[in-house]
Amino acid sequence: MPRILGVDIPANKKIPFSLRYIYGIGPTVSDKLVRMAGIDPDRRAHTLTEEELNKISELVVAEGHLVEGDLRREIAGNLKRLQAIQCYRGIRHRRGLPVRGQRTKCNARTRKGKRKTVGVQKKS
């Protein structure tokens, strides 16, 4: 399995697809990188030479794409900033509720997680 950008080990899929296993690289960036590196997009990842792998990682840096740890750190930093200044978005993040004004009466399960029952049990 080829290694690229430190930890990542894409499989024996075609290169544009295996690159997407890197955190921070999606279809658009992946296609662009392959094109810029001048690699045939139909080749499988394991057929890449050391040189071509290096070329791709250089391109990622040169194009200014944040990837893996750096990207995660940036995102965490953004959240931290919002929470530190006590703004509305920060508060919503802290409480694990939707941030962009969605309704929470029902749905919002992605943010709220698994349903937990709250409420009063009526006395009989």
Binding site: R81, A84, I85, Q86, C87, Y88, R89, I91, V118, G119, V120, Q121, K122, K123, S124
Partner: protein, 89 residues
């Protein structure tokens, strides 16, 4: 959708005057305002505000990384007191 950059910051004109004056005289008395829609510009940094939340005024001290947010973001308009506790019958 973000605001077009060419328009620049939006600050209520009246509030802008008061901020200007406060900065000029180095006055740190809180500025009471209803203008939750005003964006925080670098000139606001270090000043104290009291932002209306529909009911009362919330104290807000503006720091550097609040720039670009709006005053209203720091004065929540809703207060969640929690659900009634689950009582055993």
């Amino acid at each position: 959708m973000a605001r077009s950059l060419k328009k620049g910051f939006f600050v209520d004109p009246g509030l802008w005057k008061r901020v200007d004056k406060a900065q000029a005289t180095d006055d740190r008395k809180p500025i009471k305002t209803w203008s939750r829609r005003s964006q925080i510009t670098p000139e606001f940094v270090g000043l104290n505000f009291e932002v209306h939340n529909g009911k009362g005024f919330m104290p807000v001290h503006v720091t550097e990384n609040m720039v670009g947010h709006r005053l209203g973001e720091f004065a929540p308009t809703r207060q969640f007191k929690g659900h009634q506790p689950h009582t055993k019958r």
